[in-house]
């Protein structure tokens, strides 16, 4: 674990830059993290996913999988891949300031 500064505020992140304490996240940080990940601007559609992701995590303690995002976020999986290239669930979690989804083995 190490410390980083986003939008002037110190945050704790893991080796891949996922925030470890969701309460340290701010909306401005989301834009910073997105730019670092190659997304220049967060559109309303991006935000719909990021907000869903964050709310799910805060409600249930775990991040939704890509399959759940496709069914429940209001954004179909195809579009999720266009919005968040390569790994939508992982990237959206990073931008939403929640820990890396544990995934599966």
């Amino acid at each position: 674990m190490s410390a980083l500064t986003y939008s002037g505020a110190p945050v704790e992140v893991d080796a891949e830059g996922f925030l470890q304490k969701p309460e340290q996240w701010t909306e401005e940080m989301a834009g910073d993290i997105a730019r670092e990940s190659g997304i220049d601007e967060l559109t309303d559609r991006h935000w719909q996913v990021v907000n869903f992701m964050r709310k799910s995590y805060l409600d249930t303690g775990s991040a939704p999988s890509i399959r759940t995002l496709g069914k429940a976020s209001g954004v179909p999986i195809k579009e999720l891949y266009a919005l968040f290239p390569k790994g939508p669930a992982k990237l959206a979690a990073k931008i939403a300031g929640i820990p890396k989804p544990p995934g599966c083995i």
Binding site: Y81, C104, I105
Partner: protein
């Protein structure tokens, strides 16, 4: 009064749990096991069916007959579990009240969740060997296959026995060589992961095996559509892999009733479960074992076998009002068939990667870890008898501990963190 224990599912986890509980608790508990049918399938055998090495009818036995006497076996479809009321509702209206519930319903295949997969070509040019019907249909298609592109794919994790599709690829290479047509077949392995296996040490060993057998590896391919008629796998980000014959592992989810039961499962229908105690998060008198639990292990019979010790202890403790033990360590082991009558064996847990060495006895083995050997292959074949006669009845095996052990394993230099288990 005897405690009422209801176990949902009479597969590997449910059966061995019922038998061990019966032996441990005797008449202190009334054990009821519920399943929708009376066909217990030896799932590790499915891998060999497509190659004609194993026969479908040899893999199925009565579920009821694997249970010790004194255990009540009931046929029925579960409608839902009301954890607040400690009641299981069956589809025929029956209500089963319980003092302890064990969810052992495993994982289900969801091929219809992938666009096109169950459409044109299903069981003609696109197959899965994860069901008895699929494995049997594939056997007939494979026997006729003598040229073209054979693609083996994983749609997405989690899946049962994550090494099975790799083993299938190795065996397909062996099978096609034996038939003298290997040079006319392009063999490709397509995975949603960023390597052939989820564990770093294995990934290195197994990626080498793929290259050595001239099997092409395509990684980070998230299948969005299967075009059976056109012979194309299409990813969500518009990459394509063409095929003449597709062998795929469909999406998995938990048993359907889990999602119909308030608070019981996660978003994929697997039980929210404490990974050390195996107690479900929904209520203190609910436990989970095997593939139905969302603990971060492989979904494999060996995990259920090793988890049983912790589960049985904790059910007994819960009934006695004592504190639970946090002893389950994620211990997993599996044989990996590599073709030509050889296999590898891997042994690992939540924390420790599969390491080279010997199992279960240092230097002697007799089984070699993370290395191909003929004896590993013979052990894998012998396992079927062990499964029916030792594992399901819940007999203890001398020298084979439930807890993961570093005994006999060679320490390796530390691995980079980002290649850890979490994916």
């Amino acid at each position: 009064m005897a405690n009422r224990i209801v176990i949902l599912g009479a597969g590997t986890g449910g059966t061995l749990t019922a038998n061990r509980l019966r032996r441990r608790l005797g008449d202190r508990a009334e054990i009821t096991v519920v399943d929708r049918d009376d066909e217990h399938l030896y799932q590790p055998g499915l891998l060999f069916v497509p190659f004609g090495v194993e026969h479908p009818e040899r893999l199925v036995r009565s579920r009821a007959k694997q249970l010790r006497s004194g255990i009540d076996f009931r046929l029925g479809e579960v409608e839902r579990v009301e954890a607040d009321a400690s009641t299981v509702h069956l589809a025929d209206g029956t209500e089963l009240g319980y003092d302890v519930l064990v969810v052992a319903s495993g994982a289900e295949l969801l091929p219809e969740e992938t666009e096109g997969l169950t459409g044109p070509g299903w069981n003609e040019s696109t197959f899965t060997f994860y069901t008895l019907e699929g494995a049997t249909a594939l056997r007939d298609a494979l026997a006729r296959f003598d040229r073209g592109r054979l693609v083996v794919s994983i749609v997405d994790m989690p899946i049962k026995c994550p090494v099975a599709p790799l083993e299938f690829s190795f065996l397909a290479d062996w099978y096609l060589r034996r038939r003298g047509v290997r040079d006319r077949v392009e063999l490709t392995y397509v995975t949603s992961l960023d390597g052939a296996f989820t564990r770093a040490t294995c990934d290195r060993a197994l990626s080498g095996l793929l290259a050595g057998k001239d099997i092409e590896l395509v990684t980070e391919f998230n299948t969005g559509e299967v075009d059976g008629a056109g012979g194309r796998l299409v990813s969500w980000d518009d990459r394509e892999v063409p095929f003449d014959l597709l062998v795929t592992v469909p999406l998995h989810g938990g048993a359907a009733y889990v999602s119909r039961s308030p608070g019981l499962g996660d978003d994929l229908g697997f039980l929210d479960t404490d990974q050390r105690t195996l107690q479900a998060k929904v209520a203190p008198n609910v436990f989970a074992i095997g593939d139905s639990a969302n603990v971060p292990t492989s979904k494999a019979g060996s995990v259920a076998h090793f988890a049983a010790e912790t589960l049985i202890e904790n059910i007994d403790r819960h009934l006695a009002g004592r504190e639970l033990v946090e002893t389950f360590d994620g211990h997993t082991n599996c044989f990996i068939e590599s073709g030509f009558h050889k296999a590898l064996l891997i042994d690992f847990d939540y924390e420790v990667e599969p390491l080279p060495g010997h199992y279960p006895i240092p230097r002697l083995g007799p089984l070699a870890l993370l290395k191909e050997s003929r004896l590993n292959h013979l052990a894998k074949l012998a396992f079927q008898s062990f499964y029916w006669h030792m594992l399901l009845p819940g007999r203890d095996v001398p020298g084979l501990g439930a807890q993961f052990s570093m005994t006999g394993k060679q320490q390796l230099p530390a691995l980079p963190i980002e290649q850890g288990a979490a994916r």
